[in-house]
Every structure is written in structure tokens, then in C-alpha cells.
């Protein structure tokens, strides 16, 4: 299974505004980057050279794992506005 392919099987109604905001200053001091490996949709990336964490909200499955797993309160996370975000058809 190619991870990059997974989101293509799921439908999204992408909002123009993000529902995930990172406090990158806090992330700089993070020693586990658990959000990066735990996100089931691979939304987080860590640039090893610059030690910068980035997040894309467009493919977010809204599971909430990242914000529960981050122990530094670096993620300001809320549900997208009504109607936006992931839209399951079957499952």
C-alpha cells in the first residue's frame, strides 16, 4: 500500500481556512515528534535539517490523534467548519 495514495480513496471538502495551527516555537524543543509518525494520514512532516515541523490540513481525517498525542500543547486543533473536511461515503 502506498501511503501517498491513501487520501485519494477518501473524499474531502477542503475549507480555505485551516483547523490545525502549530506553535512551531514549542515544536523546536520536541524530542519525539510523535505527531509526525502517528498521524494516520501523514499530514505532518519533519524537516530533519531545519528541525521544522509542518502540517497540511487538507488531507486530515479529523481523528484528533495528533492533538491528543502532543504533550506540549503545541497544536491548536478544532473541528473544521460545518460541512467542510473529510466526507466519508461508505466505510
Amino acid at each position: 500500500m502506498i501511503v501517498d495514495d491513501l487520501p485519494q480513496f477518501t473524499q474531502f471538502q477542503v475549507d480555505e481556512q485551516t483547523h490545525i495551527v502549530l506553535d512551531r516555537e514549542v515544536c523546536k524543543s520536541c524530542d519525539h515528534h510523535a505527531c509526525v509518525h502517528s498521524c494516520p494520514a501523514n499530514c505532518y512532516t519533519l524537516n530533519e535539517e531545519t528541525n521544522r515541523v509542518d502540517v497540511v490540513y487538507e488531507n486530515c481525517l479529523e481523528c484528533g490523534t495528533c492533538q491528543v498525542i502532543c504533550d506540549k500543547n503545541a497544536i491548536d486543533w478544532s473541528y473544521p467548519r460545518g460541512g467542510y473536511g473529510v466526507c466519508y461515503r461508505l466505510t
Partner: protein, 442 residues
């Protein structure tokens, strides 16, 4: 059905009850309240009920559903009825499974059905609407409105104004921001949650029937231990009419500590010889992820406050005994119990915490809290790392010894079992684990 998107703002209105979330808990509460003639509105953040919801696949037999919607199985969008239960112990190279089938599973009401949540939840909410409940989709509830310390309404994200009611029922699922806002629960903890991820795979009906030895609308439910790459958790597979739901649930604390990626663990699972055989030729249809409350009874928060009650996953009413995951039945039942309480409170015109505490009593008297207490120790059991890797290996090693014919003297099974177990686990741990498993299941 009123479409809120067609209006600029939420018109301030007074309802008897506002329900947040059109999952099984919210819709059953709405159905009960609407039938009692109350003015009830359900606010759902998805474009339709179920659009945000996923689960493994099994709608367990739920007396309250049969009671409220008699012979629902004749009308509800169901996939297959589960007739075959399998428990499989896996190691990277082998699989041992126990199959349970009974004629009893074939009787009505069935023991369980596989369903698609975006379809089933939509249907269930529709039943509540038929009875007079209002459903407003595309509404993410953002804040509770309080007056004199009592909850009196909600506001909706991105919209002006709000909605007022005598009672708010928070049916907003595992991440209940509303329960947290009402100070009913602490922050969400990794110890109390599991992450479920799932892939829906399309296969022709005949292929599924043949591979799983099923007929008509019979379905299979397979639980796997040992497939989570040493993470605490388990795999699942459910057959639908023309697709297979396959995935796993892993504990968040274990996932966090492991440094592993959930989709990679799933990938390894899908590539296991035993699984690859079952899903050969299948086409991926949908990928999804959701959290599961797994803290057991100890993690159930306070479920009521002045003007508000919390139901279903939002109240942590979900449990696993390691084999079955039960949530949807607890959600629907708690929704109805909260609705019953609301009806009584509205008759008495008293929405205080003292009156709504009746809901907690009803929960205590129902199978929900009783079962959660029965399986209280299962939470401990589910924290034994060895259960998810070492023990499946031991079981498989024993069977391999039993079945392999090599022309050397064979050992008695019990002796063999002990020997194999002690190769991998210290006696002290073995005893401690068997006590935990015993406490949880016996």
C-alpha cells in the same frame, strides 16, 4: 429537512432539547424525544449524518433499537448479519484461528450486522426526522452558552447567534469538546484512547462468499491478535455484501512510544500471507481513521451537569474485552436513557443537575455500566504488551510442534505448552499475565 447553509445565521430559537451530534447516540435520543412530542433539534457537523463517522463494522444486537424501531432489519441499510466469529492469533509467518458458528446467530433479531456508518447513521437520523425532530447538518457546535452556571444553549462555528434550549445533550463522540467545556471531563489522555484505522476493500459478493464460506447475507467477523507489530491492539476484518472492512485499533500510548506509523503497521498486516490471500484482487474504496474510547469505566467522566447530559462515546461509554469492541449499542442505549431523563425533567420544569442525575442512575442500572464494570479488568489486560506479540507466537509455536511430523518423539501438549511459553516469558510474568487475563474474562 432544514438546510442551514441556505441561511445566513442561526435564528435564535427555543428548543426543549438541543442534541449535538447525529451519531447513533444523538439520533436515538432525538427519536425518543420527538416521539414524546418535544421540540428537538440535532446539530451535526457533517454534510449528512455519518459523513464523519467510521467504525470497524459490527452493529451489535441492541434491545433498545428493536424496541424503538421494531423489525428495523427489514428497512435499515444493513450489509451482512454476522454468523461466523473468528479469533486469529498471528505471527509474521503463521496464523492460528478459532471459529465459532452457531445456528443461534441465524435467528431474529440477529446477533449483529455489518453496516456502513455514513449510510446507517443517515438512515437512523432520518427515522428521528420522520418523528418530528429537526436536523441541521453543516453545523459544528463551538461553544456552550451558560447562564447562572447552567447550560442553556450552544453556538455554531462561523455563524452568528446561537440556539437556546432547556437541555443540551452532548452526543459529540470520543473527542467531546463540549464535555470538556462543561468541566465534566479533564483533557483527553493517550492512556484512554485507541486509534482505529480502516481500509474498505471492494470484492465481488461471490468471491467473499467463497473465501469466507458464507451463504446469502451471512457475514464473518474476524479479530486478530499479533498483527500490530508489537503495538498493543488488534486487527479486525468484517465482510460486507460486496466489500471487506479491514483495519486495526492500537492504543495511543503504545503508538506514541513505538515511533511507528499506523499505516505502515496496517501495510504489514495486509501483506501477511494469510491476509493477502483473503483480500487478493480487492480494490481500495475508502481509507478512514477515528479514535476509540478505551479507558474503560475508570475513564467515564461526570455525565451530567445543570442543563446538560453526555451520551455515547462522549461519555466514554465504549469497551473492549480484547475480542469484542462494543460502542454503538452503548451509544444508542445511553441516548435513549438521557432522552427519558430529559422528558422527566421537562415535565417537572427542572433542568438542574439534581434532576439530571437520574440519567446516571439509569446508566448504572442498565447493562452499560454493569458490563463496563464486569470488564473493568480488561483494561489492565489490554495493557499487557506480551498479549499482542509474544503469546500469539507461543500459541503458534505449540501448534507447529504438534502438527510437524519429524520422526522424533513428541511431547504431551501441556508440557509442550509450558516449555514453549517459558522460552519467551519469565514464569513470574506468565503467572501475572494469566491472572490479569483471568480477571478480565472469567
Amino acid at each position: 429537512m432544514l438546510k442551514l447553509s441556505e441561511r445566513k445565521e442561526v435564528v435564535p430559537q427555543n428548543f426543549d432539547v438541543i442534541i449535538v451530534g447525529a451519531g447513533p447516540a444523538g439520533s436515538m435520543a432525538a427519536l425518543k424525544l420527538a416521539r414524546a412530542g418535544l421540540k428537538v433539534v440535532v446539530l451535526e457537523r457533517g454534510r449528512h449524518p455519518g459523513a464523519k463517522n467510521i467504525f470497524g463494522g459490527l452493529l451489535h444486537n441492541t434491545p433498545v433499537l428493536n424496541e424503538m424501531l421494531p423489525a428495523f432489519w427489514e428497512r435499515a441499510p444493513l450489509e451482512r448479519h454476522v454468523f461466523q466469529k473468528v479469533l486469529a492469533f498471528m505471527t509474521p509467518t503463521s496464523a492460528v484461528s478459532l471459529t465459532f458458528e452457531t445456528e443461534g446467530f441465524d435467528e431474529l433479531p440477529r446477533n449483529g450486522y455489518t453496516v456502513f456508518r455514513p449510510v446507517f447513521d443517515n438512515w437512523l437520523a432520518g427515522e428521528a426526522v420522520k418523528e418530528g425532530a429537526q436536523l441541521l447538518c453543516n453545523c459544528t457546535v463551538e461553544n456552550l452558552v451558560k447562564k447562572d452556571g447552567q447550560v442553556v444553549g450552544v453556538t455554531v462555528k462561523g455563524r452568528e447567534g446561537g440556539l437556546r434550549s432547556n437541555i443540551v445533550i452532548a452526543a459529540d463522540g470520543v473527542l467531546s469538546f463540549l464535555a470538556r467545556q462543561a468541566d465534566l471531563r479533564q483533557d483527553f489522555r493517550v492512556e484512554d484512547m485507541g486509534l482505529g484505522i480502516k481500509l474498505l476493500l471492494g470484492l465481488p459478493k461471490e468471491t467473499i462468499d467463497e473465501r469466507f464460506h458464507l451463504a446469502r447475507d451471512e457475514g464473518a467477523d474476524i479479530s486478530f491478535l499479533g498483527t500490530t507489530d508489537a503495538l498493543r491492539g488488534g486487527g479486525f476484518l468484517y465482510t460486507n455484501l460486496e466489500s471487506i472492512s479491514i483495519g486495526m485499533v492500537v492504543h495511543l500510548s503504545s503508538l506514541k512510544a513505538s515511533g511507528k506509523s499506523p499505516y505502515q503497521v496496517l501495510d504489514t498486516f495486509l501483506k501477511h500471507r494469510h491476509i493477502a490471500k483473503l483480500i487478493k484482487g480487492a480494490v481500495p474504496l475508502e481509507y478512514s481513521a477515528h479514535l476509540v474510547p478505551e479507558g474503560g469505566i475508570a475513564a467515564v467522566p461526570q455525565v451530567y451537569t445543570g442543563g446538560m447530559m453526555v451520551v455515547g462515546d462522549a461519555a466514554g461509554l465504549c469497551y473492549t474485552n480484547g475480542i469484542n469492541l462494543e460502542g454503538i449499542n452503548l451509544a444508542m442505549t445511553s441516548g435513549v436513557l438521557a432522552a427519558e431523563t430529559a422528558i422527566q425533567a421537562i415535565e417537572a420544569r427542572d433542568y438542574s443537575a439534581a434532576v439530571l442525575s437520574l440519567y446516571r442512575q439509569k446508566l448504572d442500572d442498565s447493562f452499560i455500566i454493569k458490563d463496563m464494570k464486569t470488564f473493568k479488568n480488561a483494561v489492565d489486560m489490554m495493557h499487557i504488551e506480551r498479549l499482542f506479540q509474544t503469546y500469539p507466537q507461543i500459541i503458534s509455536a505449540i501448534l507447529e510442534k504438534i502438527y510437524r511430523v519429524e520422526g522424533t518423539p513428541r511431547e504431551k501438549i501441556m508440557k509442550l505448552g509450558r516449555k514453549e511459553a517459558l522460552k519467551k516469558v519469565k514464569t513470574k510474568d506468565l503467572i501475572a499475565d494469566s491472572i490479569k487475563v483471568g480477571r478480565a474474562l472469567l
